[in-house]
Each structure stands twice: as structure tokens, then as C-alpha cells.
Symmetry: C2
Amino acid sequence: MLPAPFPSDHNPLIRKLESIFPLTEDERQALLELPLQVTVIKEDQDVVREGDRPARSFAILSGMTCTNKVTGDGKRQIVAFGIPGDMPDVQSLHLKVLDITVTTLTQCSLGFITHEDLWDLCLRFPRIAAAFWRETLVEGASFREWILNVGRREAYPRMAHILCELLVRLKAVGLAEDHACDLPITQIEFADALGITAVHANRVFQQMRADGLIETRGTRLIVLNWERLKEVGDFDETYLHLIKQGGAAA
Amino acid sequence: MLPAPFPSDHNPLIRKLESIFPLTEDERQALLELPLQVTVIKEDQDVVREGDRPARSFAILSGMTCTNKVTGDGKRQIVAFGIPGDMPDVQSLHLKVLDITVTTLTQCSLGFITHEDLWDLCLRFPRIAAAFWRETLVEGASFREWILNVGRREAYPRMAHILCELLVRLKAVGLAEDHACDLPITQIEFADALGITAVHANRVFQQMRADGLIETRGTRLIVLNWERLKEVGDFDETYLHLIKQGGAAA
DNA sequence: CGACGGATTGATAGCTCTCAAACCCCGTGG
DNA sequence: CCACGGGGTTTGAGAGCTATCAATCCGTCG
């Protein structure tokens, strides 16, 4: 079940770009010819670390990551989850020193692209550059919502909100069914994402189960009452700026 | 004391771009010729609102803004402060629907640029496009630190951290002395930025004054012990990605 | 079978909130 | 010149959410 080298449109990055605007033949060709060093990395590994000065960025081809920061006294905060199609450290293209650490949550297949190649691509195809820029803006929107979530919602709705976000995003890349998905995220990690303790995250989960909102089986999340979960989590997916496809998903 | 139409290099936007990389004559010229509709707006006004679909973006020429979001039950969270040179809603260039509201904290002079003109500029001058992109990446870095701040620091260090950030950023645009600046931010707004209540923000301020860290005189903030403030706030300005100038500031 | 990381549970402490009221400063209007 | 009104700042006391600290439980893995 090792991720194969990604042919044509099974490349999540290309699929993502195509969801933003239809690629011309040239653009598509350039993306396919882009030197992509595909590497498989085990779970729980740091791909890049705060303070690094990478000469390349990467796209997640399969697997999940989390982007995190740490306070001076060692408390960790997860600020984003990465799913296939995301490029958690594109910022390093413009900002020399990384201010974040990207850690794998599962085994991941990552496609590394040198900054040189990325620059070249962006200069030759301004629309692709714009699409990357757009992606970082969407990421920014997500950060803003995350701040609101951590700053102004209590633990319970906070958890509900993040579950909604994850489910919607995973569905957008075809990795979730209607109301269920695989979430390789421990309660400790949820706690670090929500700014609460693992103990409290656990109690929140129990309450949500007791309330009939969700069910968990191992890493699998099953949402029993989607409408209620959205309501409780005060969730409105507008901020994810997903592009609605007219037709059905692939 | 009305902000005058901004000639040449008194335009904070141009100054900011120049701090990122030296502009060529062409680039500089294009920026100066950019149709900029300068508007003065009173304090406490919404410039754009969540849900809007603006056809233009704006740069802050003078004054301060805050970018905020609101939960379903009306709790407000400030996610960023805008200072001269910032473009709080550039995102609208790529993302149709605004997910944030930008409110003036003081009277502001704003330079509006239509998205059409912005696109044109970006396509003609890829380096300028890259600089804008870079700016949104820096903004993203700031959001990430904000999440860490709200999620993992207690109220006291949280406040210290935000004061550090504001002072450093204002100094970078020449709006702060070494350890003092004008902060037109009420305690209520600080509270909304920190994810705490106004009452608690007030108590934190009192404690910081009692500890000899700061002094406030009206809207003026005077930092009495900068080293200690940074330490307490666990502040390291790396994430602001400021570009150090070799020479002195203007 | 022992080790280990994650999930759970219980009891206590503590940071922050909530609610209310008072206080202050300042611009407005009589 | 002073009363009035309004927003921001302070204060106090009590309640509540979440953290802390410790153990226990559980499933997986060598």
C-alpha cells in the first residue's frame, strides 16, 4: 500500500490547482514536468523544524501533517493540519527562516520542489503563482478562524468546530464520506490544536459521544448528527473558501 | 493635521515595498502612477465587513485598524492590528467573500486600489506580486504566533507578548520610539485581541504597572523594562520577518 | 509477558468569567 | 460654568471552566 509515484492527475497538487481554475495545456505540462522529489516519511517525524532555512518546499501527496509552534516553556500549539494537496511550508519560498515545525501524523508521501524550480514556475506561469498565493490566503483565513475558535469559544464548541473543519476539508479532497472519515489524530494532538489539556479534550469527547453527536472507532470519526455538530461548533465553511464544483467529484 | 495626499516616498506602501527589495525605476514609477483613491475615515468605522465582496483593496496610509471576526453568539475576536503600510484586505483580490471585518481604531487615511489595477500591476511586475505575496505570508506567520499566544499563554504573558509585537512593528515603520509609542487601543480591544474579558485585561494591566513593566498615559504606552517585558511575553520577533536595514531608519 | 503510548477517571486548585456598581474623563448643551 | 451623558477604566465577590496531579485502564507490539 505504499504510495506510488504520482502519475498525471492523481497528483493532489495538480488536482487542487485544477479545482481553482482550469489549467491550460502548457501549465499542465509544466506541472507534470516539475522536478518533484517524492519521499515517504514515517509518522511522528518532523519534516521541517522552526529555525530551519529550507531550500525547497513540499506538497503533501498522501498522509496528514500538523503544523506546530512551541512556547518558551515547552507548551505546544498546533496551528494547522495538513492534508493531501497542501503545502505546509510554501512560506519558506519567501521567508528565509521557518517559524513553524511540520510534523507527520501518519506516514506521508511528500513531493519536494526546490525553491528555484518553484520560482521558475511562478515566473513563467503567473496564474499558477496566483493560485499558490491564493492558497496561502486561504490558509490565512483558516488561521483567523482558528484564532477565533481558540480565543472565543469554549472547549466543547471548539472541538466541534475543528471536527467540522477537518471533515469538510477532507471531503473536499475525496478523503471523507458524507459524515465519516479517518482522523489519525490523538486526543493529545486535538488538545494541542485547541489550546486545552489532553485530559480536558478527553472529557469533551466523552460529552460529545454522550450527546450523540459523534462516535469514534479507533481513528475513525463518525458524525451522528452533522447539523447539530455544525450548530454547536458555530461552523460556517465560508472561511475555507472552497470552490464549489458544478458537477460531481471525481 | 489632515493627512495630505501622499507624495513619492511618503507613501507607506511604497516604503514598505522598498524595504523588501530595491525597486527599479519602472516599478517605482508604476507604483507612483497607480490610481489610488485616498479616503479619510473616522475612527470606529467598519471599512469592510465580513460577507462583503469588495472590488478593491486598500492600504493604510495613516492610522490604525483592527481586523476582527465574530462568533455566532456575538463574541468578538480581533485577529490583527493594521498599521501604516499594511493592506488588511488584500485577500479579497483572490478570495471573493471577505471572512473578516476591518474596523478603524483611529481616523485613518486609506488608499484604495481596484482589483483590476492590482492585477495589472502584479502581472506587469512579478517582483511586486511576489512582494505582496510575501506580505500575506508574513501576515500568516503573525496569525500563527497569535494562535500560540491565545492558545498556550496565560493572560499576563499574552498581554506582554502583544505589546511587544505592537511596539516592534510600529518601530519598524517609524511610529515608535525605542520604548514608547502611541497605542490607540482600548482595554476592551486588547481584551478582544487576547481572547479575555475587558475586566481581566484591566487587572492584567494593573499588575504589569505594579510590576514596573509598563506605564500608560492616556493612549501612550511607555515600556519601563523592555528586556523583562520580552522575557515575560516569551517574545522573539523572528516570526515578524522584519528585514533588517543596514543603515539607520529615515 | 512487560513495555508503552493513548484513553479515562477522580479530586483539587486556579485562572478567568460574570455580574454589578462605582469612578473618571471629557465633550455637549443649557 | 455646571449638569448631563457616554465610553472607558476600576473594583469586588462569587461562579465556572479548565488545569493539575495521579492513577488506572487498555490495546498494541516486541
